[in-house]
């Protein structure tokens, strides 16, 4: 029994070191990674960016061609983003690219959309609040019930009594049946909050991949099938609810193509950007009445695409590459792998082995020789053979416990 537990303890110590040593190393060598804040300018028809130096004191306002701007000039080449400053300085032009521009119009047309893998890769209770979209009041109010989507239908639960509201459930269920919704539902998205200007309810895909729009209007269900190309298989949905009311939502398909569902005509339009995987990449869109700056970023790259706001086609693009990530750090010579349990890309806890490195083999062999020399005079046992093999493969993680557990 104690022999088995000796090995179990050795494995446990090795696993702990495979987790903690790289963690300490990464903590000690942590570097701030920052790409310049960049937006597409409708005025200079190029990307304009703010470069920040190491000590974060000197800001350099520039464009892709290398032209340098003062802060005031920079406000002027990005009037849709800095319109409030321009209004304060009384510098907002009457027209921008021939279109009359007022602060209220710019405010209404502007939007910022953000999505992170952390928001998607998460366990979420499958209960949804359906707000009243056509409330007679100015402010939206949170409902007294939530709905759940079962294998065969929709069910509303009154939160005060914790009981199923059979009448409302039957009313919605009959509309779902009328519109031939195939249960169970595959993907659903909405913004169940009253901190927004208006409510567009939920967009969801049924078990056959058909897209639907669900709202509650004066207590009655509104369920509209949205005709989409049969080849498009929706995987992720975001309901946008921007002030401009031009879109119902953004969607991606299984091939990571990005779409916009336009309002009020329910047209699904593909946006001309590189493939976007919302489970692995961040996306930020700075939108205005002329163009969108779409920023897609993962660990290494940040890709920026300027999109024509009317046609949703690409105008221009550029990329930042984080060259530091390509550099071979000392860690790859020390550690044959790294064990971690959490990630910035999800809210799950599970063991993850990453950063396998063959470069650490040299150190592993040196440690193996040291181990053999240290224990050459002791009796050869199966446990020693296991430890030697572990050191050859796992290097320092297996070597330290072998020393600590020597008798």
């Amino acid at each position: 029994m104690s022999k088995t537990y000796k090995i179990i303890y050795y494995i446990l110590l090795t696993a702990i070191l495979a987790w903690l040593l790289p963690w300490f190393y990464n903590l000690a060598t942590l570097k701030k990674e920052r790409t310049p804040f960049t937006l597409y300018s409708e005025i200079i028809e190029d990307f304009a960016m703010i470069n920040v130096n190491q000590n974060e004191k000197d800001l350099r306002y520039t464009d892709r061609k290398g032209n340098i701007y003062t802060e005031r000039q920079f406000d002027s080449i990005l009037p849709m983003f800095y319109y409030r400053q321009l209004v304060t300085d009384n510098r907002l032009p009457d027209t921008i690219r021939g279109v009359p521009a007022t602060a209220s119009k710019i405010r209404r047309e502007n939007f910022i959309f953000r999505t992170r893998p952390l928001d998607i890769n998460v366990h979420h209770p499958e209960l949804y609040s359906l707000l009243e979209s056509r409330s007679k009041r100015v402010d939206l109010t949170m409902p007294d019930d939530v709905f759940r989507l079962t294998k065969n239908g929709i069910e509303f639960i009154d939160m005060e009594s914790n009981q199923v509201n059979k009448e409302k459930s039957a009313l919605f269920q009959s509309v779902f049946q009328q519109k031939e919704v195939a249960f169970p539902i595959r993907a659903i998205a909405g913004n169940p909050t009253n901190r927004k200007e208006y409510d567009e309810g939920y967009l969801f895909t049924d078990n056959e991949g058909k897209l639907f729009h669900l709202k509650q209007m004066q207590g009655r269900p509104f369920l509209r099938p949205v005709p989409i190309d049969v080849d498009v298989q929706i995987s992720q949905i975001w309901v946008t609810e921007f002030l401009n009311r031009k879109y119902f939502g953004f969607l991606t398909d299984v091939n990571n193509q990005f779409y916009v569902l336009t309002a009020p005509d329910y047209n699904l339009v593909k946006v001309e950007i590189p493939p976007f995987n919302p489970k692995k990449e961040n996306m930020t869109i700075f939108g205005n009445m002329f163009s969108w700056t779409v920023v897609q970023s993962d660990k290494k790259d940040e890709i920026l695409t300027a999109i024509d706001a009317k046609t949703l086609t690409a105008i221009d693009s550029m990329a930042y590459h984080n060259s530091d990530k390509d550099k071979t750090g000392l860690a790859s010579y020390l550690f044959p792998l790294q064990l971690s349990f959490t990630s910035t890309k999800d809210k799950f806890f599970y063991p993850r082995l990453k950063d396998f490195s063959y470069r650490a083999l040299a150190l592993n062999l040196v440690l193996l020789v040291v181990y053999i020399l240290l224990f050459r005079k002791t009796k050869f046992t199966a446990t020693k053979l296991i430890k030697a093999l572990a050191i050859a493969v796992l290097g320092v993680f297996a070597f330290i416990p072998a020393l600590l557990m020597r008798e």
Binding site: Y5, I8, V122, L127, S129, N162, F348
Partner: protein, 222 residues
């Protein structure tokens, strides 16, 4: 003979059992009072909304209570054994060494599981009339790693206390701290769902690490 060992363990731990039971009930009651306050001051809908939109479970105050319960139980159970090397006497009983230690560890783990299961039952009975099953499971699954950490705390403290040398005790403490840290790494709700059963199995298996300490004790390692 095993009955006698179990009785001896009960004598050592009965007052602590009561204290831990009271502390667990007190913390559970405190958390449930907070839930009750949210319902009476705002509404049940507000409570549901918080549980749906945030990583809050309203039981966060209990985070370390199971861990301290496990640690205290192991201390009360095994420190007296190590004082004046009473464990030696115990190991001279006409029973195999593993059976003696196994009974002692089994008693401790069972006592903890009973206490934790009772706490879980109280929480479930309280939440059942006020929350949907989806939210009850969210609360209880989020809390589960804290309770498994309690068993891990028990396992590593027993392992350390029964260890005869201070050098190895230090190593055991460090290993225990690192292992228990795992249960508190993520603060997100239901983060441990995918692995919690495996963590429980591994933790229960690690409760047997004390066999290693006792074997070293019996071998006279100094």
């Amino acid at each position: 003979m095993i009955k006698a060992i179990l009785y001896k363990e009960w004598i050592k731990t009965r007052y602590l059992f009561l204290v831990v039971a009271v502390v667990l009930v007190a913390f559970t009651a405190y958390c449930q009072l907070r839930i009750g306050n949210v319902i009476s001051l705002r509404s049940a809908a507000h409570l549901w909304e918080i549980l749906l939109t945030r990583d809050n479970t309203f039981y966060e105050a209990m985070r370390y209570v199971p861990l301290f319960s496990g640690v205290l139980l192991a201390l009360f159970q095994f420190v007296p054994e190590m004082q004046q090397k009473r464990l030696k006497l115990c190991l001279h009983l006409p029973l195999p060494q593993n059976k003696i230690i196994g009974s002692m560890l089994g008693f401790g783990v069972s006592l903890l599981i009973a206490l934790f299961a009772a706490t879980y039952l109280i929480i479930f009975l309280y939440l059942n009339p006020i929350l949907a099953p989806e939210l009850i499971s969210r609360v209880m699954l989020t809390m589960l790693p804290w309770f498994v950490a309690g068993i891990a705390g028990y396992a590593f403290v027993a392992f350390t206390v029964l260890e005869p040398t201070w050098k190895r005790r230090l190593l055991n403490i460090l290993a225990g701290v690192a292992f228990i840290r795992i249960f508190y790494l993520s603060g997100y709700a239901e983060a441990y769902n995918q692995v919690i059963v495996w963590l429980l199995i591994i933790t229960l298996a690690l409760a047997g690490l004390s066999f290693l300490s006792v074997s070293r004790f019996k071998d006279g390692v100094q």
